[in-house]
């Protein structure tokens, strides 16, 4: 069984068909890319997957469970975490607290126990604190733990967002343009890290990206969208040779 299955997914905004009969699947521990020109509907797919938009039709199943009509926080708890195209970190919180917010489900103490500082408040907080610091090591960000997130340089803010998504223990990670605004060296590092995340956390990754070198190198399979329609799918080699894709990107 596939980890994620999307069937005949459509969404209409007013008269605009932002997505038409889209279908895709993602398997466990796979890295899949979703590409297409600007406005093709890539982020719309993410928003439908995470419950931000409600689809006009179609089905989304994650581990056999339907995601339609589920709220974003429920979908996150089921096992899908995402990052955003325009970074949405919690700017006035520390780097560590950003990650701890996503680790909410790792702690069980009640409001009253927290407010009165019961012993298990301390033990659970300590455990999560250690875990959050360990997460920072993935991107060598231990030094920034106590910094206010807004003060981080752009590249680190993107990395923090990925870490925050990982901290919520997903089985599928959605990355929306993780390399946007990064220089070639950083992009190359990011490629390695994406693979490393997949191997270390044993999760599937679905990513939207414009940087073709990154997409072609990292992804095992690709889906290409244009004007809300799926125009091609296959391995990077197949996509590279696909006439429709070349037309969509370069014009005829």
């Amino acid at each position: 069984m596939h980890l994620l299955v999307i069937k005949d997914l459509s969404v209409i905004f007013g008269g605009l068909h932002a997505l038409n009969d889209f279908h895709m699947f993602v398997d466990d521990r796979e890295i899949v890319g979703l590409i297409g020109p600007n406005g093709a509907g890539k982020t719309t797919v993410f928003n439908l997957l995470t419950g931000v938009y409600a689809p006009s039709g179609g089905a989304i199943r994650f581990e056999g469970e339907s995601l339609i009509d589920k709220k974003p926080f429920q979908i996150n708890r089921i096992g899908i975490a995402r990052t955003f195209q325009n970074i949405r970190i919690f700017k006035n919180m520390t780097v560590l607290d950003n990650i701890k917010v996503a680790m909410q489900q790792d702690m069980k103490y009640t409001v009253l126990a927290g407010m009165t500082r019961m012993p298990f408040f301390w033990s659970e907080e300590k455990k999560v604190d250690a875990k959050a610091r360990k997460m920072l090591e993935i991107f060598d960000m231990e030094e920034t733990a106590e910094h206010t997130a807004a003060n981080l340089p752009y590249g680190l803010q993107r990395k923090l967002e990925i870490l925050r998504a990982l901290a919520s223990n997903p089985k599928l990670l959605l990355l929306d343009e993780p390399a946007a605004g990064m220089n070639p060296t950083e992009t190359r590092e990011l490629m390695e890290t994406i693979r490393k995340i997949r191997d270390d956390f044993k999760i599937a990754i679905l990513l939207i990206e414009h940087d073709m070198s990154l997409v072609m190198n990292v992804c095992e399979r690709l889906y290409v969208l244009d004007y809300g329609n799926l125009i091609a799918l296959g391995t990077p080699e197949q996509i590279r040779a696909n006439e429709k894709v070349i037309t969509a990107y370069l014009g005829s």
Binding site: P72, R88, Q104, G114
Partner: protein, 336 residues
């Protein structure tokens, strides 16, 4: 703001000792008559305002939702407590605490009723709905028989009397201390982090598994509960309440305390609530210019420090001590 690294136990101890010392000093001055009744009253009002400002700060500063009808919750609490103690057979020392719990509960119920529709949505709906609530509840109190209409309730017994002038002050003081303590611990727990993350970015918070509706409701209802208790203390402190005391101006007054102290800073709210209660009283000698000076101070502060006195920072005596010790140590190691 890392709570785990610092010597938290020592900090708690220092704060507890300081609070106890402050209380002892104040209660001794009050009971010996060094501080006369007038000043004791002002001090108690300041404490009630601190409780109100801190509770509003939870919603407006920490959760990031504007509330324009906080006085409405105070009204509900004031009437609930006053009606209970006036009609109960119990002695006041027993009836008063029960009345306070009731006032909190009634205000919290109002919070649930108006929060449920408003907080499921994203955006500023809460501001408008609470504005409406504040007005509606005042009109209701103006027209009901049980609240005695615009005449209001009179002869609400105060715990303070000639033999024990500091009784109301003691209540207000400990309620303020407990509320401040619980706010601090709340903000620095997983629930507090969830609430702050909603202020920072609601969409991101929700996609990180935070049930935003639940946490918004929780913070809002908790603030209503605390405001209700403050209303209950207020009613028994002044002895006479009428709906006009809890109008829109009162809500704005509390909001100003929060904005001035710094949205999201609990200590900021404490400082500005104290200053804004005591300052107008000190300016009574210049009664002609009183409101003028008051507004000039407000305008200047907003001009030169738009984020409020403390912004989002908190100050603490142990924290200051810590910084001082560090500085001295650095100096010493520098000399060697």
């Amino acid at each position: 703001m890392n709570i785990l690294k610092k010597k938290t136990g020592v900090y708690y101890l220092i704060n507890a000792v300081l609070v106890a010392a402050l209380f002892l000093v104040l209660i001794i001055v009050i009971n010996t008559g060094t501080l006369n009744g007038y000043y004791t009253d002002i001090l108690t009002f300041a404490l009630i305002n601190i409780v109100l400002a801190v509770s509003l700060n939870l919603v407006t500063g920490i959760l990031g939702q504007l509330v324009l009808g906080h006085a409405g919750f105070m009204l509900v609490g004031a009437y609930a407590a006053a009606l209970f103690t006036k009609n109960s057979e119990l002695s006041l020392t027993v009836a008063f605490p029960i009345g306070l719990v009731l006032s909190g509960l009634f205000a919290a119920i109002c919070g649930v009723v108006i929060g449920l529709p408003a907080l499921r949505l994203r955006g500023d709906y809460l501001a408008i709905i609470t504005l409406g609530f504040g007005e509606i509840i005042r009109v209701i109190a103006n027209n009901l028989k049980i609240t005695n209409g615009a005449m209001g309730l009179r002869g609400i017994d105060s715990l303070s009397n000639r033999n024990n002038p500091g009784a109301m002050f003691t209540y207000a003081f400990f309620i303020a201390v407990v509320v401040i303590f619980l706010m601090f611990t709340f903000v620095r727990s997983r629930h507090g982090r969830a609430v702050i993350s909603i202020r920072e970015d609601e969409i991101a918070a929700e996609s990180m598994g935070i049930n935003t509706t639940y946490y918004k409701m929780f913070a809002f209802v908790l603030a209503a509960f605390i405001a209700g208790i403050a209303g209950g203390v207020y009613a028994h402190h002044v002895g006479v309440i009428d709906p006009a005391k809890f109008d829109f101006n009162r809500s704005v007054e509390i909001l100003i305390m929060v904005v001035l102290g710094g949205m999201g800073s609990i200590t900021g709210s404490v400082i500005s609530a104290s200053v804004l209660t005591i300052l107008p009283e000190l300016l009574r000698d210049f009664s002609q210019y009183r409101m003028l000076i008051y507004s000039v101070i407000l305008i200047c502060l907003m001009l030169f420090k738009p984020s409020g006195l403390l912004g989002r920072y908190e100050i603490s005596v142990p924290g200051l001590l810590h910084a001082l010790i560090k500085k001295i140590k650095n100096k010493k190691s520098g000399e060697v």
